[in-house]
């Protein structure tokens, strides 16, 4: 990691639109390095961030104007939240304060000036939660609408840095996904191969949430939880998509020691486009003839079913009982744990 001299600082502008601000809040939880240190290490000069900067109002609008006409160099534009097109394509569901322009128009202008454009969170990347249901605000992502390329900027868009929009998908994003992607960019180590087919940084998208899941032993033996707070595997009954979801949540960990699975609830695949509309209740696994529909991504179905029934027959009593309890009932050193 190169430390940039002060003169070569990288200018970063962070905007929010149709989202909840949760990716910024998550980012403030960054540790080792914390956010301030990460920005400093990466040589990033924060032109403006809605939660962090002093500048408000007219001075901020002045700053945007200067960037738009090219007087201030914009190296990285981060957008948090989806692009709001409604009502009727006018963008009036989100106007820039103190101006008569929609945020949609501003975002497009600024993205055309930026060397790199980064979508922070699944909303900015694909539309996300804001696009759920009837999508009342007509929300889309910067370069995707759900899993369809296009979005606000169009499928062919590339920044001056030669890359399409980098989609740090997640709801919210892990602080490390954001700081590391920014450091990769400023180090000149982010290239076309650094992202997957959905634009997600491979640094975390090359992993599955299943990797490092502490419930793995229950998974292996198909010892399944039946209700919230049970210790067993959440895949068979409670909607967990960890075997399909791209993310390093169970190896990187959140807020010191957490993850969805460690917190006792299902992974809802929040790094994927369309996660907001699973087509079934989030916390229930859809099944056909008792077999979960969504099986691990790259495993032959028949093989999985055979393996599952085999391992179910061999489940130790310890796992069977612990799986449906919210405290350990049987310990590994107890006798009589064989089936």
């Amino acid at each position: 990691m190169m430390t940039k001299p002060a003169s070569a600082k990288v200018n970063l502008l962070w905007l929010q639109s149709g989202g909840c601000g949760g990716c910024s809040q998550s980012l403030l939880c960054a540790e080792a390095p914390d956010l301030i240190m990460a920005l400093e290490t990466a040589g990033i000069h924060l032109l403006w961030h809605p939660s962090l900067s002093e500048t408000s109002g007219a001075d901020f609008r002045g700053l945007l104007g200067q960037i738009k006409v090219g007087n201030i160099r914009l190296d990285i534009l981060c957008l948090e939240g989806s692009v709001i097109r409604g009502p009727d394509g006018s963008g009036r569901f989100h106007m820039m304060a103190g101006s008569d322009r929609s945020m949609m128009a501003w975002i497009e202008d600024l993205a055309r000036q930026a060397r790199y454009t980064v979508a922070v969170g699944s909303c900015a990347a694909y539309g996300g939660i804001t696009a759920a249901g009837s999508n009342p605000s007509d929300a889309i992502g910067l370069q995707f609408q759900g899993d369809r390329p296009g979005g606000l900027l169009g499928a062919g868009f590339k920044g001056e840095g030669g890359l399409p929009v980098i989609n740090i998908a997640g709801c919210p994003t892990h602080p490390g996904w954001v700081t590391e992607t920014l450091m990769q960019i400023t180090a000149g180590e982010m290239n076309g191969g650094g992202v997957d087919h959905l634009g997600r940084p491979r640094s975390y998208a090359n992993h599955l949430v299943h990797h490092g899941c502490p419930r793995n032993e229950y998974y292996e033996y198909k010892a399944s939880a039946e209700k919230p707070s049970d210790l067993g595997c959440l895949m068979e009954n409670l909607g967990c998509l960890g075997t399909q979801a791209h993310g390093d949540c169970n190896t990187r960990l959140w807020n010191g020691e957490g993850s969805c699975l460690r917190g006792g609830y299902a992974c809802i695949n929040c790094t994927a486009p369309g996660f907001e509309e699973p087509g079934h209740p989030f916390q229930e696994t859809p099944k056909i003839a008792g077999i979960p529909i969504g099986l691990p991504v790259d495993m032959p179905k028949a093989w999985f079913v055979a393996l599952a029934s085999l391992s179910k027959a061999a489940t130790p009593r310890r796992l069977k009982e612990n799986a449906v309890s919210d405290h350990l009932q049987r310990m590994p050193d107890e006798e009589g744990e064989r089936p």
Binding site: D34, N255, G263, P281, D326
Partner: protein, 483 residues
């Protein structure tokens, strides 16, 4: 008279614009404009009821847990399920973790940096205050971010992650705590207490929560030089700038009550009106749409019957926010309101002297940090080994229920109707929906609109700093406001 448009306001959650009529260097009238509409109440229509636990926290990244707790409470009301004691304790710990972290974020990241602005460059206190609280580069943020992040390890342990956890369920929480983990929680709390006592207060929490009057607070502050702690720094600046005379609201305070354990809330539910406690009847809440950008019927409706149909061209509409009224009244919500309704003597004395204002709102928040962290220590201590954390219950096909909770910035309510196993209607009134509401059919301005009247505008100021203080003193959350 000149009309001034102020915004965007950063260091608030989400986007807000304020329009001001200025006469003789003072705000004569104000209009508060909520700028972003996403439509969660529309998104939730027709969804399976329990999916509200996924959607509603994502209304807001800073009040995420509060939204979860309100949704879980509304669903629990539909199901008739009660949490086991461990579930109540864990829920309170998780909610308190968010609320206290939010108070800290507000004070250090959102509110105090305004005193580092150039307007104050010639004031006697300016240099040390600017050095301490300047946005991004002040000395405080270097200490606060690590302390906050470490405090939020409680989320990692109890809720998996923050924001947007699914650990908060109608019948309790999904993460049981082993006994040695309880010790880890105690250690995290102790470490955070150390930060508060050394940096924010410069005193034991026990000595803060017993302050029972303005006189006692002043005597406490005078015991050390004003740069002894950040609370004293604030009190010094508040005194110099007379922040107790800035931003007076409606002085009717409301609280849904917070942190219920075994049927008893730590902070009581109620209303404070004309200097007296009163009963809060949520049945008298109506949402007035007369100045909202919403299609509207002839009457303001209770949230069980509420309708959300955005209309950018609605006559007289100037905000995507609705105007909630309690029995026709404009109320103020937040930490100060919560402490007043809970009957804390310091909060009561502050309000008796000068009502709701910029200084008192901030003191209310800091007082609450001390009170809540002490409560968290006892809740952690109360977690019982081997006892359940979550009860389960069937979701009825037909039901209605509400969840009334307190987010950091005030009263949050969810009202839900289930028909044929699906969400028929879901209405949300968030704290800033109350505080930053537009005018109602009688033309009565909302709480912030009232609080801004009389704010001084200095010559040449484009974004008047007094207006900035008043707006931020409410710790607004705009993404919650409209949702």
């Amino acid at each position: 008279m000149s009309r001034r448009i102020v915004g965007p306001f950063n260091r608030v959650e989400g986007d807000v614009e304020v329009q001001l009529d200025i006469v003789d260097g003072m705000v004569h009238e104000a209009w508060v404009v909520s700028l972003l509409y996403r439509g969660f109440e529309q998104i939730l229509q027709g969804k399976p009821p329990q999916d509200a636990l996924v959607y509603t926290p994502r209304i807001c990244g800073i009040c995420s847990v509060s939204q979860s707790v309100a949704a879980a409470a509304a669903l629990a009301d539909c199901q008739g399920v009660r949490m086991p004691p461990n579930g109540e304790l864990a829920t309170s710990l998780i909610l308190a973790n968010e609320n206290v972290a939010d108070h800290l974020t507000h004070f250090y990241l959102f509110f105090m940096p305004d005193f580092a602005c150039e307007t104050y460059a010639t004031d006697s206190w300016y240099l040390p205050i600017a050095e301490r609280f300047r946005a991004l580069t002040g000395s405080a943020i270097q200490q606060v971010l690590p302390a906050r992040a470490q405090f939020m390890h409680l989320m990692g342990l109890l809720a998996g992650k923050w924001p947007h956890s699914l650990a908060l369920q109608p019948g309790g929480t999904t993460r049981s705590v082993e006994m040695q983990e309880r010790l880890r929680i105690a250690c995290t709390l102790y470490s955070f207490r150390q930060f508060l006592e050394s940096t924010l207060f410069g005193d034991r929490l026990e000595n803060i929560v017993v302050l029972d009057s303005l006189t006692a607070l002043q005597a406490w502050a005078d015991r050390h030089p004003w740069q002894h702690s950040d609370f004293r720094r604030f009190l010094h600046v508040a005194d110099a700038l007379k922040l107790d005379e800035l931003g007076r609201g409606s002085d009717i305070f409301m609280s849904n009550g917070a942190y219920g354990i075994d049927g008893r809330p730590l902070f009581a539910r109620g209303l404070w009106r004309e200097g007296e406690p009163a009963v809060l009847d949520p049945g008298t809440i109506r949402e007035d749409l007369s100045h909202s950008r919403m299609a509207r019927g002839p009457e303001a409706l209770h949230p069980y019957e509420g309708v959300t149909r955005p209309d950018a061209d609605a006559p007289a509409g100037y905000s995507w926010g609705k105007a909630p009224r309690l029995d026709g009244l404009v109320v103020e919500v937040g930490a100060l309101a919560r402490q007043v309704v809970a009957g804390h003597p310091l909060a009561l004395d502050l309000v008796r002297h000068s009502g709701g204002n910029v200084r008192n709102r901030v003191i209310g928040r800091l007082l609450e940090i001390a009170r809540v962290v002490m409560a968290m220590e006892s809740w952690a201590n109360g977690l019982q080994a081997g006892e359940p954390y979550c009860h389960s219950a069937e979701m009825p096909d037909e039901a209605s229920g509400c969840g009334l909770v307190e987010a950091a910035r005030g009263s949050l309510g969810h009202w839900l109707r289930i028909e044929k196993g699906r969400i028929r209607n879901y209405q949300i009134i968030a704290p800033t929906t109350w505080n930053f509401s537009p005018r109602d059919a009688q033309g009565v301005p909302g709480a912030l609109e009232q609080a801004l009247v009389g704010a001084p505008v200095r010559a040449g100021e484009k974004d008047p700093v007094a207006v900035q203080h008043i707006v931020r003193s409410f710790d607004p959350c705009m993404v919650c406001t409209v949702h």
